[in-house]
């Protein structure tokens, strides 16, 4: 294993900038790693054929003495729902197989401007609907800790790619937990920025009012670096917040919780949570207290309705967002007969089971006669959850909980049991409904199975820096206790 692939993004950017190593060498090392392990991990759906050319362009710039961007020469793996010119975008779906978008997403375009190497497109649950990547039309990705396990989802490919050292950074999207949950079960860091903090332009929509692009990396500082580069106001996205990006990198460099008020959400624990998850979480809370944080318990009584509200709001929006995949203008066209028949056959053939379930669930919730009882009610619950957060953030600076009730589960275990699958997002959904920021940081291995557990830190909207401050402290303290990063303990490919 080349040393280059174990370096952090911060180290790589510095080494490329100083000329210690070329962007081409960095890229070649990662391409070699992909070549070596991705046959087993299956994190990537597409590897950029021009990755080396992108790197050489960076090296040429450096040679010419031109200024380099903050991520110059650092490979980034991109979840396959960001539109990219020159690479297909499939969203893990048969219906978009071979689609070459004629335009670039705002975020990937910012990454290119920052000098990042877009090394490839990663696997995901179809249209980001799922928590395991098993809903990908192109087969599941595998957890680098144990290839028989899921890497989480929907950004499972992005999490697996980073955990397997195929890329130091990756992009994901979080709608109900799709960045934080895979980060937790793969033992890496993943952040959901404030909704509106990172642009959705060119991010194929699942649920528009929830979808939030965000960064994944092997450590808190790298996560913050990517967070900062990808974020900021975008006039192409009407829901984008026109305000400065919170100082996340600064916070990640200077983690400190002394005097910080931290609330433990009592509603996010108890039955259904794996004991090892709860014990590692409790230890992390004790650690924070020992580092000077003032820890209290906080109740958010409406969080228990977050999951049902989410499974009304997200499918409703999805049923509308996914209507355009009808075989008329792009993507798959199947069947024969009238336009109406071809649309219905295309969609029946092009969408997988989970997508169909959610489209129909959404159509149901929005139907005349059911709207008030389902979609309307869910929107009210959303208000109550926002109020729970507001009340909590009057007492504390951040909230903490486990990221997901269990560690990584075996591929196939929940594949045809949607309700069991949905539970994976129990703790992450409230922040999505409220549009707040949240992060998952590794906090140890569950004693019963030796698999990674994540600490979930939730911050108010546009206070993303707070969660990095906490994350950085926890990471530093635990690594000094363990003597190495958590990933070093992985028995599988993540080592």
């Amino acid at each position: 294993m080349s040393e280059l692939i174990t370096k952090t993004a911060a180290e790589l950017a510095a080494a490329v900038a100083s000329g210690e190593v070329s962007a081409a060498e960095v890229t070649a090392a990662h391409l070699a790693r992909i070549e070596a392990v991705d046959g087993q991990v299956k994190a990537f759906l597409h590897v950029a054929s021009d990755a080396v050319a992108q790197a050489e362009a960076i090296d040429a710039k450096r040679a010419a003495g031109e200024p380099l961007g903050p991520l110059a020469g650092v490979p980034v793996a991109v979840k396959d729902l960001f539109t990219t010119v020159g690479m297909p975008t499939t969203c893990g779906s048969r219906i978009l197989e071979g689609w070459h978008p004629p335009y670039e997403s705002t975020i990937t375009s910012r990454l290119r401007d920052a000098g990042a190497i877009l090394i490839g497109k990663t696997n995901m649950d179809e249209f980001a609907m799922g928590s395991s990547t098993e809903n990908s039309a192109y087969g599941p990705s595998h957890n680098p800790w144990d290839l028989s396990l899921v890497p989480g989802g929907s950004s499972g490919g992005s999490a697996a790619a980073v955990a397997a050292y195929e890329a130091p950074l990756s992009l994901g999207t979080d709608t109900g937990g799709s960045i934080r949950q895979p980060a937790a079960v793969c033992g890496i860091v993943g952040a959901k920025p404030t909704y509106g903090g990172s642009s959705r332009y060119g991010v194929v929509a699942f649920a528009s009012s929830l979808d939030t692009p965000g960064p994944l990396a092997r450590n808190v500082l790298d996560t913050a670096l990517l967070h900062e580069v990808m974020s900021g106001h975008d006039p192409m996205d009407s829901t984008s917040i026109d305000a400065p990006v919170p100082p996340v990198v600064e916070a990640a460099r200077h983690g400190d919780v002394s005097g910080m008020r931290i609330g433990v959400v009592t509603d996010l624990s108890g039955d259904g949570y794996q004991p090892g998850v709860l014990s590692r979480f409790a230890e992390a809370v004790e650690l924070l207290e020992s580092l000077g944080a003032k820890v209290t318990e906080v109740s958010c009584p409406h969080f228990k309705y977050a999951l049902p509200a989410y499974y009304l709001i997200a499918p409703s929006e999805a049923s509308s967002n996914l209507a355009r995949f009808d075989g008329m203008r792009y993507g798959l066209r199947a069947g024969s007969g009238s336009a109406e028949e071809v649309m219905a056959q295309t969609r029946a053939e092009g969408f997988g089971a989970e997508v169909k379930r959610r489209i129909m669930l959404g159509a149901y919730a929005l139907s005349s006669g059911y709207y008030d009882a389902y979609y309307g009610k869910a929107q009210q619950v959303r208000t109550l959850i926002i109020r729970d957060f507001q009340a909590a953030f009057e007492q504390v600076d951040v909230l903490v909980s486990p990221v997901t009730p269990t560690t990584a589960f075996p591929i196939g275990e929940r594949a045809d049991d949607p309700m069991a699958m949905y539970l994976a997002d129990l703790c992450t959904i409230p922040s999505d409904l409220a549009g707040n920021a949240a992060i998952s940081v590794p906090c140890g291995l569950a004693p019963e199975n030796g698999l990674p557990v994540g600490l979930h830190v939730m911050a108010p909207s546009m206070a993303d820096d707070r969660m990095y401050r906490v994350g950085a402290v926890v990471e530093a303290a635990l690594q000094s206790r363990w003597g190495h990063p958590l990933l070093a303990e992985a028995k599988g490919l993540a080592s």
Binding site: L81, T83, P101, A207, S320
Partner: protein
């Protein structure tokens, strides 16, 4: 198949409503920066947003909001202090996202009215709502009969029109207009068109589809007070068609009711060629649009200061102009309507502004010039003569420099491009002969040639002088001022 219109109206009371879609005249589309030029090559004014490509997002055109508020204010609506866009979900190949961004239960403007003038009477048409939405693409149906959708083998879609801002103006149901209903409907659309034109928010060209009407019609049994089932007639794309479509639909529904059937709530399509409607899809069979607030757009909350600023910038509206001109020009409602229907309001007003009397200005534009326009098959306002020129001709007549016949010749000259009225007078030598000595010699010649007539006049039969006037006019080639000639004859013979 149908009953006669008059017969139908003896038993039934028509209630109608109109939904009018108007393409706004913004430079760019509702939610993206694509241009909106009419008649451009197919798919040259499209981008990821209006093509509905995965990942693309809409951003609202501020000017479209401003135009919609303008329309709402002109139609006496209240403007919402907070409202949202909503998605109307249905599948159709010319709709790129398979939903339309529209507004549902929170329209930008609501609850107004428009007064329209029909046969000298004012009818107040209530406005339910004015909301914004996006237009769809256009399909070309290939194979089968004459480009119709029925029997076509396939269709070709051009998305240039997709995303052009549309304002939908919905009336409240209009009852109580009896047999005048189709005429009132037409007058409403005409008035609405004039309002929109005066606001400068749309080119309102029905023939290019920038203004399109759906006509809702129902019949209730006279005196029953029970509303009938309504049908929605689409594709009504000219003022005349509005009237014809409703007329035909009243006859059809009366026939259905007379035969004991019930009217089906459905969409119907109007056919210009036959003047009749045919059944489209039935609304009773599950068209569930599943409206919900558009999550990709944030709410619109126009500040009252902005609304007031827009209100202050409104131009004079047709109804205000009507009252002003009625009193300033001492017109009857019917005379006003004649002017408006002739499309001559602007030119007459401009002619008056250039110094002509309202009566003279109307006389020229509704008389001689209207005939010329009619002969040429153009609108009177597009004749190649300016209001200033008409005012000048009128002034020359008042000054006695031209008589009516010469004035018409001057107008011919101007229309033929010979220059200003004064230049035409000069070039064609058209001024009346105002030199008394020249007239007197012509009078003397005429008197000499008609001694009997001269005698009659002398003996007091003044009316006989006309013969001499005629002879003088003939001798001067019509360039004499007949009144002056008469005066001179009478002086000569007194």
């Amino acid at each position: 198949m149908t009953v006669m219109y008059e017969e139908a109206l003896q038993k039934y009371e028509p209630v109608f409503g109109l939904e009018t879609h108007v393409e706004l005249g913004t430079r760019t589309k509702m939610f993206c920066g694509c241009t909106t030029v009419f008649g451009a090559d197919p798919n040259t004014q499209v981008c990821p947003v209006c093509l509905g490509l995965p990942g693309s997002l809409p951003v609202v055109n501020r000017l479209a909001i401003e135009y919609a508020i303008k329309i709402g204010l002109a139609l006496n609506c209240s403007i919402a202090s907070w409202c949202r866009f909503a998605r109307k979900n249905y599948f159709y190949p010319d709709m790129p996202k398979d939903f339309q961004i529209s507004q549902y239960d929170e329209p930008l403007c609501a609850d107004g009215y428009l007064d329209v003038l029909v046969g000298g009477e004012t009818v107040r048409v209530g406005i339910e709502r004015v909301h914004l939405e996006e237009d769809t693409g256009k399909s070309l149906h290939v194979g089968g009969a004459t480009g119709r959708i029925q029997g076509a083998e396939y269709s070709l879609v051009d998305y240039n029109r997709a995303g052009i801002p549309l304002v939908e103006i919905v009336t409240k149901p209009v009852p109580g207009t009896g047999y005048m209903a189709p005429e009132v409907a037409k007058a409403y659309v005409t008035e609405l068109r004039d309002v929109l034109r005066s606001l400068g928010v749309s080119d309102v060209r029905m023939e290019e589809g920038s203004m399109r009407c759906d006509v809702n019609t129902s019949l209730s049994v006279l005196g029953s007070g029970v509303l009938g089932t309504r049908t929605e007639t689409k594709n009504v794309n000219s003022l005349r068609s509005v009237e014809r479509a409703m007329h035909s639909e009243i006859e059809r529904q009366a026939f259905v009711l007379d035969t004991g059937d019930r009217v089906i709530q459905e969409t119907r399509h109007f056919h210009e060629d036959t003047g009749t409607t045919t059944s489209g899809r039935s609304k009773e069979e599950a068209q569930d649009y599943r409206y919900f607030p558009e999550p990709d757009l944030v709410p619109v909350a126009p500040a009252s200061s902005w609304v007031e600023e827009i209100r202050a910038s409104l131009p004079e509206l047709p109804s205000a102009r009507r009252s002003r001109l009625l009193s300033a020009w001492s017109l009857s409602e019917l005379e006003f309507e004649a002017l408006r229907n002739a499309g001559a309001l602007d030119v007459v007003e401009a002619t008056v502004a250039h110094g002509a009397s309202p009566a003279d200005a109307r006389k020229w534009w509704l008389g001689e010039l209207a005939r010329k326009a009619n002969d040429a098959g153009v609108e009177v306002s597009s004749l190649p003569i300016t209001s200033e020129a008409v005012a000048r001709v009128s002034a020359l007549v008042s000054a006695g420099t031209l008589n009516d016949r010469l004035a018409r010749e001057v107008i011919d000259g101007v229309l033929e491009g010979e220059g200003t009225p004064d230049e035409v007078v000069e070039k064609r030598g058209l001024a009346v002969v105002s030199d008394d000595s020249a007239l007197l010699s012509a009078i003397d010649e005429a008197l000499a040639a008609n001694p009997a007539v001269a005698g009659k006049v002398r003996s007091g039969k003044v009316a006989a002088a006309g013969v001499i006037v005629g002879a003088v006019m003939k001798a001067t080639g019509g360039k004499a001022d007949a009144a002056r000639v008469r005066e001179l004859i009478l002086e000569r013979l007194s």
